[in-house]
Point group: C2
Chain length 290, copies 2
């Protein structure tokens, strides 16, 4: 098991946010960084875990710097994990050519195309590797039997797909302006066409609208999605939340289980995210602290 | 009067944050940018104004992105103005050589040394120019008869000095980890030695510890300061809040008027600032909404 090196540690809202670094097997032996926020503790409490997955061009600092999440997480007694959005420095040819693909754009999948398969494995990094590495570091008081996940844009896609594929792991999921139907959107075509041997067809595995069809409507899910109707990427049909709504309805989910809200006048920025962050954390607290 | 160009506008917490650009006479004709947050409005309300001055290396976006101020300002019905920290692109030789001086390090003063005097006039920019330019743009509903000011580090210095020099303009002042006695600190020596003809001696004009001596203890002030005792710049004696406390006490101010608090375990970062931001905004609201 790789051991964690502490890069930085800052007190915040009574708790501590720590940036760790380790050699990631899941990402082909590259160094990976992530942040963990742990609320103020009496030393005996283990905190439920809320994962935040950031969007294109972002990294492990974007959420804690700009999301405004720590305040409500501290109040609710919930720990936060902020992974990076891709491997860094893999040296794959072309990985730094386009902000929508490669570095900063890992799409939370396990690549299968030869060129990318060694390093671009953010799903394995998040689902398998980080929980194991964190639990091995016994000083980090997290309770992985209670996990939820949320994210923004590409990270909203990540949160929804990981939740729908791993319902045994997560009790709730929420997203800000998620890429909701990537097999029908330019971003998804670029990503799946590049990372996956099977292209867009294999990409259905990473498409919330496709995945929700495979989960029975009687299964019971807890999903909250907000997007702004002034979001340019929404207008450019990169997000397609309506397709997720239609698929959820067709699969028999009541809107109380898959709640998708258009927020008038809001855009794609963290000014939007931070506005609705308190509600999202309250949503997850309901299930994490049940 | 220079007219304002809208660079960007984002809805946040029910209100709107707008970035403006204009040709700044105070800064020698350079383009200057600033952000204004206006809470949700019925169209007839004019909002009291809270200025936020950022620290070294920062700009007009640092506060709104990382401070977590908008949420509480929206709740309290207070507008926020975020100026830049220096002129940009003045082309003065050496202005980009050192993060502690020149670009991103205007120290909220009016330079008098020949080389800097044309462009480095952040005090005039904030005290005279921005209120005039904003009021001329009649679409921005601010009430400049009610103003307060706060800031971080170099911006805490700026907030304290502008408040103590212009008590007719501001009803309250607060600061996070302010440079409290720059004539006795390395940062102040660099800044005053460079920007001011009269050097460190002229710098007393921009030193909170010196200025508070000139304000009678019976005058009544409203000052709140927080710093972290794990702040490396505090440990390096760049901040010297104890000197401000001693001067205030000697001048006859009760601690209820000059409240300086050491926050155990906190450092110089926005993780610290955002933790105490809600209290600071509540502090200003008490006076702005009185």
């Amino acid at each position: 098991m790789a051991s964690l090196e502490t890069v930085q540690s800052n007190k915040s809202f009574g708790g501590v946010i720590t940036k760790y670094k380790f050699e990631s097997k899941a990402l082909g032996g590259l160094n990976a960084q992530f942040n963990v926020f742990v609320p103020e503790s009496d030393g005996s409490t283990k905190f439920p875990v809320l994962w935040y997955l950031a969007g294109l061009t972002c990294n492990e600092d974007t959420g804690p710097w700009k999301g405004g999440f720590l305040r409500d997480a501290a109040d609710a007694g919930i720990a936060l994990i902020f992974p990076d959005t891709s491997p860094r420095g893999a040296g794959v040819q072309g990985e730094d050519d386009d902000w929508q693909f490669g570095t900063g754009a890992g799409f939370y999948l396990n690549a299968t195309a030869d060129k990318w398969a060694k390093n671009y494995r953010m799903r394995a990094h998040i689902i398998e590797e980080l929980p194991a590495v964190i639990q091995a570091a016994t000083s980090i008081p997290l309770d992985f039997t209670r996990q939820s996940i949320f994210g923004h844009s590409m990270g909203g896609l990540g949160a929804l797909t990981l939740y729908l594929k791993h319902r045994d792991l997560f009790v709730s999921c929420s997203a800000f302006a998620p890429i909701s139907n990537p097999t029908n959107a330019p971003w998804g075509h670029t990503a799946f066409g590049g990372y996956l041997k099977g292209g867009v067809d294999e990409g259905k595995e990473y498409d919330p609208t496709e995945l929700i069809k495979t989960v029975g409507g009687d299964a019971g899910v807890h999903i909250l999605v907000d997007y702004g109707d002034a979001d340019n990427f929404y207008k450019q049909k990169q997000l397609l939340p309506e397709n997720l709504v239609a698929a959820a309805e067709k699969a028999g989910f009541p809107t109380s289980q898959v709640t998708v809200r258009a927020q008038p006048g809001y855009d794609h920025s963290y000014y939007f995210i931070s506005t609705f962050a308190p509600e999202h954390i309250k949503f997850h607290a309901k299930f994490l602290k049940a």
